[in-house]
């Protein structure tokens, strides 16, 4: 039973355009959400997070939006750069502000074309 779903396995965008990565969840107890980025042969690195008390969090080119009623979040990257090409994992936690015991999605492979 996948509690965090990333239904699109891959996304390809042109450099300079917006990348929108989607994530859905089923567990209503989740109240903290994170995005991790992973390059081949490396471990995931933290990108951005959002608490359930917010609907938007922005950090430079990265913005995460949360729609609690729809149990949906998305990561926007603007403008996309070739160095953004990686696998992006959506993750969620039940404990407020916690990074422990994260539940991950399967990941989305983003390719940014020069």
């Amino acid at each position: 039973d996948q509690q965090v779903k990333q239904n699109s396995p891959s996304l390809s965008v042109q450099e300079g355009r917006i990348s929108i990565l989607n994530c859905d969840y089923t567990n209503s107890m989740f109240d903290y959400f994170l995005w991790y980025k992973k390059y081949p042969a490396e471990g995931p690195t933290f990108l951005i997070s959002i608490s359930s008390i917010k609907d938007k969090n922005e950090d430079g080119r990265f913005t995460v939006f949360l729609n609690k009623s729809a149990k949906h979040l998305s990561l926007h990257i603007v403008p996309s750069q070739p160095g953004d090409s990686a696998v992006y994992f959506c993750a969620a936690s039940e404990a407020t502000g916690a990074n422990s015991k994260l539940t991950f999605g399967k990941g989305i492979t983003l390719s940014v074309r020069p």
Binding site: T45, A91, N99, L102
Partner: protein
């Protein structure tokens, strides 16, 4: 070191062998996590330590899996009588506390033949 260090980087085991995977967390990080990432999947939680105490081992898939962190620093994940379904990347992560950002190592890729 500057980051979380895991060894070996790759491990090939024959079915039935025992393996031990090592994790050196970032110095001073009290929280340590193990995750298992199968091919094409996201990481799945295995177990969590705060200092030397194993506070959550609910994700360990069977009693063949055992983790320890005796001095609250280095941790070892041991898998006994390995099976083919144990083939995965085993990721270790550490943080300064249970509610802080996780730093992941590069993982150990285990292949059981």
């Amino acid at each position: 070191g500057a980051g979380v260090s895991q060894s070996p980087r790759y491990k090939v085991a024959k079915r039935g062998q025992d393996v031990a995977l090592r994790c050196d967390p970032i110095s001073g990080h009290v929280s340590l996590f193990w995750y298992q990432q199968a091919l094409g999947q996201g990481p799945e939680f295995l177990t969590y330590f705060q200092n030397e105490a194993q506070l959550d081992k609910s994700g360990l898939p069977s009693d063949r899996f055992f983790a320890e962190r005796p001095e609250g620093s280095v941790s070892t994940l041991k898998i006994q009588r390995t099976q083919q379904e144990d083939s995965a990347v085993y990721l270790c992560a550490s943080s300064t506390g249970p509610n802080e950002k996780l730093f992941f190592g590069s993982g150990t890729q285990l292949s059981v033949l």
